[in-house]
Symmetry: C2
Subunit: 264 residues, 2 copies
DNA sequence: TGTATTCTCTGACTGCAGTCAGAGAATATA
DNA sequence: TATATTCTCTGACTGCAGTCAGAGAATACA
């Protein structure tokens, strides 16, 4: 099934890796070891804690210490103790370090300009618009939907988005915060469930269900981040809620789902 | 200029590298050293000469020998002398080697299917169609146009395409081969020039100019590979020819260019 | 035929990537 | 206050990537 689509994706991959992937390999094939470049990049303009860098790049702590030492010896970074916690160390780029980072940045722009160079104005527009669409659909495929704790900060953030939208759509005057805390216990088994959709770890949508009456479930708090609407995130959230409802041996009231569909 | 397009390309690159680039990194992060995987892939189903592999992967000859030895010891490849040339060695995959290569291949399909999995039928079509367009335009940016020797095999191949097309468009009856050899000397300085457009080293278009009369040049043998038409390859070829004509202090007869434009 | 070139192979390197064990200092927790 | 945990650092490794010099065999060329 979908053999043609698979072939197109693989062909696309080859071309893109050849042409654009080079930007991503900007950390490779330099005079500088790859992990030094990656670190310079990840430390960023405002500096970063070593433990964060370690997590983000997946480096061994001993290894990081050494690479960091090398960068410090080259005068590209300075490492000091973090203010609040004496165990934590904080790295930031020196002026020279910032200059190197800017060079790294420039490579990406350079390649992008190279691509645009030989294209006509119309082709450039076609390219960027097609790229936007590919990106959007690829992001759709990167979204994961899973059951989560309704009291977590991310869950509360989602609810806030949902209520803020309700407020802007209908008339103001009710306090979402009260409603949030009041109903959290209804969104965990056995009384209900909450699922959150995430893209790159960030919440981008949610949906809840409460098993209100016998063998009937109510769909609630459906929200999808506006830039990601129209990609079927809402549908996937509902599918998951439906699965949970079935597991709990109740029927989902899909009427509500259809009502909220306008917001997805 | 084009800051928005540059930003879109970079953003695209990030997403694609994250989602699809993983396929390209299928050689990395395995139990097997990267270059062993790359070799298994490049040897292909029918085997390959070592010198070709060396060129293609850019490996040191000594290094290749060792990696090859390791693969042979694992029973994945067998190396023997090439039939025609006793200096050359030829590598081919064993049954086990072929199986490993199939696994490598499977990873790509798997990822493509993962992407398609969460999309609706309509979205899949949108994705593949947008991918095709991005690929096409990226390929346009990968094409290089340069002056070449009209007696080279690639040049003659281009001429053949050109004449074959003429023949199919108008009526048959003339011998292109005779015409090719007869006019080759007219396409080198100081009497003329030939430029060839290449994509990934393969010729995909050509165009020639002869400085026929005083301060007048004639455009000839414009041809662009059918799948790449509409991407401005012909325009770029003419631009280059025009530059050459200007250098030779003659004017290009653009009327002919416009006539042939229909074939680009 | 003699000489140059091509291709492969061996040996000896350098340097980066990445892992593991353990120690020391600062902080959190009971 | 005693103990556990977190974070960083040092030392000692392994293994892959990649380079350089040189030798030997086969072939191309003058």
């Amino acid at each position: 099934m979908d053999a043609k689509a698979v072939r197109q994706i693989r062909s696309f991959n080859r071309t893109v890796a050849e042409r654009i992937g080079a930007v991503n390999d900007r950390f490779l094939h330099q005079r500088r070891p790859m992990n030094e470049s990656r670190l310079i990049w990840e430390i960023g303009l405002k500096g970063e804690e070593l433990r964060t860098l370690r997590m983000r790049l997946g480096l061994d702590s001993g290894y990081l210490t050494r690479v960091m030492g090398s960068l410090a010896k080259q005068g590209l970074v300075r490492v000091r103790l973090a203010k609040e916690d004496g165990r934590v160390r904080f790295a930031h780029l020196t002026k020279r370090g910032l200059r190197v980072r800017t060079e790294l940045d420039g490579r990406s722009d350079e390649l992008a300009l190279q691509i645009l160079d030989v294209l006509t104005e119309k082709q450039r527009e076609q390219l960027t618009s097609a790229m936007r669409q590919v990106e959007r659909l690829l992001e759709a495929s990167m979204i994961h939907v899973a059951t989560e704790d309704p009291t977590s900060p991310d869950a509360i953030w989602c609810f806030e988005q949902y209520f803020a939208e309700l407020k802007s759509r209908f008339e103001p005057g009710f306090d979402p915060a009260r409603s949030i805390s009041a109903e959290a216990h209804e969104l965990v088994p056995p009384r209900g469930a909450l699922v959150i959709a995430r893209l790159r770890g960030q919440p981008v949508g949610c949906g809840a269900v409460t098993f209100a009456k016998k063998r009937v479930a109510e769909l609630r708090r459906m929200w999808v981040s506006p830039p990601l609407r129209g990609l079927g995130v809402g549908r996937r959230v509902i599918n998951e809620l439906e699965r949970l409802a079935t597991e709990a041996n109740v029927h989902l009231v899909t009427k509500l789902a259809i009502q909220t569909e306008t917001k997805m």
